[in-house]
């Protein structure tokens, strides 16, 4: 109960922090603009002539690559820069509650941005009769994937007091995790290594695990993959925060 109260308090504050600056609005506008542009211009939503949102979801791993670390970069870097981390961690709360509260706030924020893409959902339902089950599954996959990006951003944010450094680090790490399942790279690997190696590398990719969601399959293995990325990254965040304090 008490820990739940602490987490809610931190989540509330953090969310308020997003909306008290223009960052939140800029992010949402850019996110919606980019998803729209990519869906209709590059994804060929209309040209496909299919009642599904593949053209929309196709771009999510790539859009998240830059947008999500931008949301997560301030989580700990800002606390460290301004010294408020000292305030936060001398409160009668555990570091875990703080880490989780902050993470949940940023995740909820991305969730909100995702909810605001509802016009494409309406559009596709207006134009045809899509399999909405697939669309919900892909939304879930996209949300889980965003959470994984965020958890990694939380980790890199704890590493530094500089938000830009945090941003760059998390983009690089996330890029690696996307690329290891990217077709051209897996083809490249397949030509040189045994299929087992290729599969192992690809199984670490955000892309590979996102693909089954886009087909409407909510496989527990994919869900566990994303959840374990989050747990691992948040755990590492706590280790980093502890080691800073230990000197």
């Amino acid at each position: 109960m008490n820990s739940f109260g602490n987490i809610t308090a931190i989540t509330k504050r953090e969310l308020g922090g997003y909306f008290s600056s223009p960052v939140a609005y800029i992010f949402i506008v850019i996110f919606l603009l980019l998803t729209g542009t990519f869906t209709f211009l590059f994804g060929g939503f209309f040209e496909r002539g299919q009642a599904n949102l593949e053209a929309f979801f196709l771009w999510h791993p790539w859009l998240y690559l830059f947008l999500v670390p931008a949301v997560g970069m301030r989580l700990w870097a800002e606390e460290r820069r301004s010294g408020t981390i000292e305030l936060l961690l001398t409160m009668p709360i555990t570091a875990w509650q703080a880490i989780l509260g902050k993470f949940l706030a940023s995740w909820a924020f991305i969730g909100l941005a995702l909810v605001l893409t509802f016009p494409v959902f309406i559009t596709v339902n207006y134009l045809g009769t899509p399999d909405n089950g697939v669309i919900w599954a892909t939304y879930l996959g996209s949300f889980l994937m965003a959470g994984s990006y965020l958890a990694i951003s939380s980790l890199t944010s704890a590493l530094t007091r500089n938000q830009v450094v945090s941003l760059i680090l998390s983009v690089v790490i996330c890029l690696l995790l996307v690329l290891c399942g990217f077709q051209p790279l897996t083809d490249f690997l397949a030509a040189r290594f045994s299929p087992a190696v290729v599969d192992t590398v690809a199984s670490f990719s955000f892309l590979t695990h996102f693909m089954s969601f886009t087909k409407g399959v909510v496989d527990s293995r994919d869900v566990i993959f994303y959840l374990s990325i989050m747990v691992f990254s948040l755990f590492t965040t706590s280790v980093i925060i502890r080691s800073h304090r230990a000197g």
Binding site: R13, S20, G83, L87, P92
Partner: protein
Amino acid sequence: MLVSYQTFMIRVENLSKAFGPKVAVNRISFSVEKGEVLGFLGPNGAGKSTSMRMITGFIPPSEGKITVGGYDMVADPIPAKRLIGYLPENAPSYADMTVSGFLGFCAELRGLRGDEKKKAVNRAVEMCFLESVYYQSVDTLSKGYRHRTCFAQSIIHDPDILILDEPTDGLDPNQKHEIRSLIRRMGEKKVIIFSTHILEEVEAVCSRAIIIDRGQIVANGTPQELKQKSDLAGAVLLCASGVTAAEVTDRLANVSGARKTTIVKQDQGKIWARVYPKSESRNGELARAVHQAVQGWAIEELHTEEGRLDEVFRNITLPDTAKEETK
């Protein structure tokens, strides 16, 4: 919440902290009782902030034990932290929040909700005179207000223990005065530890002072006791007119109980001289002896000095070589 028979609210034993090879705090031990206002003194980088950060549970000690209100800070940090209100150095606060939002958030982390929270925020706002900026965003505040906002945060849950890292740093004299009187007022019922560079503050507020230098406690006592360590303590200052310096030194050389005599300054026919006692001179003995010796002179001033804290501080904390240079 607090059991009254616990006299030692804070107990620190053999506390050490090393950052890599650099030892910031080296085996310090002390304890503080309820009703005490303890001043932490020391030059920059002496380990004051590091010690306070360990006591408040922000950084874990490399060695040693901290007990706060009976709870071990390392093994059982949550109940220990509950007892403490902490004002970190430079008084950080969330720049993107309003004063009311910030204090509300801190109150929530202290476990206060609803009416309790509202009351706590109002009380802290009142005590720190923040009414006029209540709805203002923290980043639009002047330094003094920002400082007081963070101070308000530290007293929001009416803690039994207050730990203040340079609470008057960067404030104007009026604000300093306010904070000092606040500390003094609250010190009657609480345990307060605060660090400062300002020695007059120690005399004005503290019931006890600890001087830390290079990570170690070099002095621990009431401001009065510390002043006794001064060279000047018990010295007699004499001001006379119409005599020469030679006459003064000559006359005072033979005063019983005097170690040495120095001429402090000469100005417009007046001459100031200081007579240092041989050993601890008892109540005005030296002053009477000096008075005897200079009978017949026109005395403008004659008094026994108390000793000065800044001199004690310098003597204790300056490395020996630097001490020679300043003499």
